[in-house]
């Protein structure tokens, strides 16, 4: 066990998998010699050579399309999209190709591709370094979408993603690369090294895709969250003295419905949180699922606390970000009614 931050844990996942399976290759803008703008692939080119870790032209369409071709050959490409905001030029290859090739060929070909991308706000990145587009992928049958919230999960889930025989979109909450962020932007940041979830085994292990974790147990209220928002949800509960059960979904699709149902049946109240814009966000799906499946256990409407339906404005970042106040309001509303 070593204390690793998210970046180190993700780097380690690459390292472990590249050593185990020489079909694993890494491609993306600036991922080669430089090791990625967030350093997630640092050292890999040195260790595994230029034909397994290399820079790609600035073409997300090309990166994903080429990676699909590699995957159908039998490699397990890991493609980095520098920021999730830049995945759209490659959207057709994800939706029409990666997601559909297994189906289209009745299983004759499949796409063991991992698309990694830093996502989410909180770093003053402005409109195009802050987006959370997970809902767009959740709607596409055939895509698995994974979002870790701590170093231990990040490594274990990335290994599972690389081992998955299906295309996985793996979003990394960049705000918590270096330390958990509780949404109190005016307080000093604690690094991961102080956190038990940063105790990461050096070797191979997996965290299963499709299984949520209970990040905080509680009786009064179920909070469904993922990524950075897990930490904000916990901090909100604590700041308001609310006995909330915070579920860290970890995988968005397929979502762990059992864990969700169990918790909501117990608490009878539910708040869904995410950083993405609210309308038609993944929170809508969660809210719909909960009320469909736990309607008679619900004592109040399922609340959503999310990013506003606007682009992510540079200087108004902390007005956009769904911090402890927005969450607190939603928690209280869910408890009041």
């Amino acid at each position: 066990m070593t204390a690793m931050n998210m970046i180190e844990a993700l780097n380690s996942a690459h390292d472990v998998m590249m050593a185990r399976d020489d079909n694993v290759v890494v491609m993306g803008e600036d991922v080669g010699f430089f090791g990625g703008v967030f350093r997630v692939t640092a050292g890999l080119q040195d260790k595994y050579g230029r034909s397994r870790v290399f820079d790609a032209p600035i073409s997300e369409n090309g990166i994903i399309g080429v990676a699909i071709g590699m995957a159908t050959y039998g490699l397990r490409p890991v493609a980095e999209i520098q920021f999730a905001d830049y995945i759209y030029p490659g959207f057709d290859q994800v939706v029409s190709e990666a997601a559909r090739i297994r189906y289209r060929t009745a299983g004759e070909w499949y796409v063991p591709l991992t698309i990694r991308s830093p996502y989410g706000g909180g770093i003053f990145g402005g409109q195009t370094h802050s987006q959370s587009p997970e809902a767009l992928f959740a709607h596409v049958a055939g895509i698995t979408t994974v979002i870790p919230s701590n170093p231990y999960d990040a490594k274990g889930l990335l290994i599972s993603a690389i081992e998955s025989d299906d295309p996985v979109v793996f979003f990394e909450p960049k705000r918590i690369y270096n330390g958990p962020f509780d949404g109190f932007f005016d307080r000093p940041v604690t690094p991961w090294s102080k956190d038990p979830r940063a105790e990461v085994p050096e070797g191979y292990y997996t965290v299963p895709i499709g299984k949520a974790a209970i990040a905080r147990e509680g009786q009064a209220l179920t909070v469904l969250a993922y990524g950075t928002m897990v930490h904000v949800a916990i901090a909100t509960a604590e700041a308001n003295g609310i006995d909330a059960e915070v579920i860290d979904l970890r995988t968005i699709v397929p979502v762990d419905i059992e864990t969700i149902e169990q918790s909501v049946r117990k608490t009878g109240r539910c708040v869904v949180v995410h950083e993405a814009t609210r309308t038609a966000g993944f929170g809508a799906e969660l809210s719909a699922l909960v009320q469909e499946r736990c309607f008679y256990h619900l004592e109040a409407p399922v609340q959503r606390a999310a990013g506003w339906d606007t682009p992510y404005p540079h200087s108004l970042e902390w007005a956009y970000f769904p911090g402890p106040i927005r969450l607190g309001t939603a928690f209280k509303k869910a408890l009041e009614d």
């Binding site: 090309g62 399309g65 080429v66 071709g69 050959y73 029409s96 190709e97 289209r104 299983g107 419905i257």
Partner: protein, 426 residues
């Protein structure tokens, strides 16, 4: 409201919108098409620098001359058996097309697309490739499957979406897929196969394999960003891939000028990316064969990709949903100055004394019989019946292969669907 128009002392700008030389009612007009003499184009060494091939992008590699004799440095000097087999394959594609087109018209399936007039493009290439090389085609290269002896019955079952369809009725007719025959699943979204082919080829190179990839795209579809990705990535990493651009002059109702064909050749794109390029008489199976072999040898020597423009003509409608009489002169295909690939190869074989009209006719009959027999066989497994719930495939299969393992929500939906079907049946 639009910006106030600023003209000052400048002349007025105007928009140029390309228009084909002839429209319905006009005589077909191919006078602007320049056709260099067969044999007039040099053949660079396979190890040549890309730049040495660039002049070839502005002319046309042609082997069969107007008398159907093979001339010049690109003559692949094939033995008569191979030539006869190529002839047979092209004829088979045409016989198959005719039969299946008719089946669609008879309401036995929803859709069909022919490759009439373009048979040489796929058949010539498939003969020059190794059997193990991987193809990433569009919908107009069924010839690849025919050359590689993919069973006609399997093709037809796919077209009928019937019980025998290994794709379980999931794909539109003619969107074949067969891994064993090195034929990648055809996508409905144009041009996506291009970067995929490049990626497959890069993977082959990464693994120290020896197989190369070949891909095809229409001149119309070459406007998609995927084309640019494929050119860029294949050049940068010297991927062992052949990028075939099939310029059949039309993209549904839009002529090649709308894709940029008015400005230069499509082969010229190779120049801008610094990769090898060839422009080929796509109705000349020997030229297609020779160019493909050249590009394949080059790829196998780690010298990277080649872009090949196949200059041909889409003789019939885009698909069964299309009527070209609405946008181009009738009978244009008959007047195509590069002739018909089957007729040209037939004549060539006759010139060589290796074929005769009688043999041709009897082969024609034999192929037609084969196709009919296959059709009977395929139809035993059903045809597409649109207004029915007697689905050829168990509806439960519909939920398979979305993921490797079926997640809970698909299992639930699968059960709901089964119940729904019960209700419907009542």
């Amino acid at each position: 409201m639009a910006d106030k128009i600023e003209r000052r002392n400048r002349p007025a700008l105007s928009l140029h919108v390309p228009e084909p030389d002839a429209r319905p009612g006009d005589e077909p007009d191919f006078s602007r098409i320049q056709i260099p003499a067969a044999g007039s184009v040099p053949r660079p060494d396979v190890t040549a620098q890309p730049a040495e091939t660039h002049p070839l992008c502005f002319t046309m590699v042609r082997v069969l001359d107007d008398e159907a004799n093979a001339v010049g440095p690109w003559d692949p000097r094939l033995d008569p058996d191979t030539l006869r087999r190529m002839l047979r394959d092209m004829m088979m594609v045409r016989a198959f097309d005719d039969r299946m087109y008719r089946a669609q018209r008879q309401g036995k399936t929803s859709f069909y697309m022919k490759s009439t007039g373009e048979e040489a493009v796929a058949v010539g290439a498939a003969h020059a490739l190794d059997r193990e090389d991987m193809c990433f085609p569009t919908y107009r290269q069924p010839g690849l499957l025919v050359v590689r002896d993919y069973p006609l019955v399997d093709m037809m079952c796919q077209i009928y979406s019937n019980r025998g369809d290994k794709l379980q009725g999931r794909q539109l007719p003619i969107m074949y897929s067969d891994r064993a025959h090195g034929f990648f699943t055809i996508s409905g979204n144009l041009a996506t196969q291009l970067p995929q082919a490049v990626g497959w080829a890069m993977a082959s190179a990464i693994k120290g394999d020896s197989r190369i990839a070949a891909t095809w795209v229409g001149e119309g579809s070459s406007a998609e960003g995927d084309f640019h990705s494929a050119m860029t990535f294949s050049g940068v990493y010297r991927a062992p891939v052949i990028l075939n651009l099939v310029n059949n002059q039309w993209a549904i109702s839009s002529f090649a000028g709308i894709a940029g064909g008015e400005l230069t050749t499509f082969a010229a794109r190779a120049v801008g990316y610094g990769i090898a390029g060839l422009r080929v008489d796509g109705n000349d199976p020997l030229a297609v064969y020779a160019a493909t072999l050249w590009a394949a040898d080059r790829a196998r020597s780690n010298l990277g990709p080649t872009l090949i423009e196949h200059f041909t003509y889409r003789k019939e409608g885009h698909s069964t949903s299309d009527d070209p009489a609405a946008y181009r002169p009738q009978g244009a295909g008959e007047k195509w100055p590069l002739g018909d690939p089957i007729q040209r190869l037939k004549r060539h074989l006759i010139n060589l004394g290796e074929w005769s009209d009688e043999q041709h006719e009897s082969l024609q009959t034999q192929l037609s019989t084969e196709v009919r027999a296959a059709q009977r066989e395929a139809e035993k497994q059903g045809v597409l019946v649109a207004s029915t719930i007697d689905f050829p495939h168990d509806v439960r299969t519909m939920f398979e292969d979305v993921y490797a393992e079926m997640p809970w929500h698909l299992k639930e939906q699968q059960a709901q669907m089964a119940a729904e079907l019960e209700t419907k049946r009542k």
